[in-house]
Chain length 145, copies 2
DNA sequence: ACACATGTAACAGTTAGAGATACATAAACC
DNA sequence: GGTTTATGTATCTCTAACTGTTACATGTGT
């Protein structure tokens, strides 16, 4: 199963947008994301609706951040993408009558819910300026092995 | 992206195998898993190698548990399946030179590692007899909403 | 008007995984 | 021993979801 790299891709692009400090076109940004302009726009549509970025049409148009990096959390970005599914595992049939199935589903669902909460908490704690290259990545965010 | 339901499927089947208390054929067990015998055997191969179940060929052959339910944890089963990937999200390129990319990857990898540890811990705490229908699912395992 | 950029619908291509088939191996029964 | 029944596994096909692509409409500034 191929992993959904949109969150990672978008974070990457947002940091580059901050560095540029000017309107950048879909064409340029798509290349830095390793894809094409149409996919880029499709991916960024949610961020525009969420008010994280602005886009302008026509001559000299393009994309820019709508807020400073320190006011955007990973959770904001994740939610703007439409809360993409986090897990590769799951239950086959959601509403089986079998008691065994119900118990199995409950255990799986609980653990996944707990993990989802962990993701939300961590993502909510991290603002984009903390990931920007001028800062060293803090120990609380990045454990060295 | 379709979820990997093997862990859920296998737990289901293992509990049914315990209830039956006799050798059950791939044909029967595959049906209870909603698939066909070849897929069932492919899925269960790891569990046999891990010593969680035994299989016998020929007349009257089939599958049975190699240990009591109380001596099998979800983690045992998960590992016997070859530790299937837990997450649907990830990074596009693992070893980019870009500093932005490195920081983004580090944040994502850290959060996912933490979540993976959470899964391993929870799975390691739960034995299969705790999921068996004769027991009510305990509050620590199943939160009621 | 024209050039340029975004917005988005619709279609094509890719790929990982499940499903299916075939056949080898092995054990029990006659 | 030969037949029946079951597992073991390689190999191929099928499918579904997603990315990539194309096309065209919309909007904006010169």
């Amino acid at each position: 199963m191929n992993r959904d790299t949109r969150l990672s891709d978008v974070l990457h692009v947002l940091l580059h947008m901050d560095k540029a400090n000017a309107l950048l076109t879909s064409d340029v940004l798509a290349r830095s994301m390793g894809t094409n302009p149409a996919v880029f726009r499709r991916t960024m549509a949610g961020l525009r609706e969420a008010g994280l970025v602005r886009s302008e049409k026509g001559h000299g148009g393009g994309w820019q951040l709508a807020r400073p990096l320190c006011e955007i959390t990973l959770l904001d970005v994740y939610e703007a993408l439409g809360r993409p599914n986090l897990f590769a595992i799951g239950n086959r049939s959601e509403w089986a009558e079998c008691l065994v199935e119900k118990n199995v589903n409950a255990v799986m669902a609980d653990t996944m819910a707990e993990a989802a909460t962990l993701f939300a908490t961590r993502f909510g704690e991290i603002t984009l300026d903390q990931i920007a290259p001028r800062h060293a990545v803090s120990a609380s965010v990045h454990s060295h092995r």
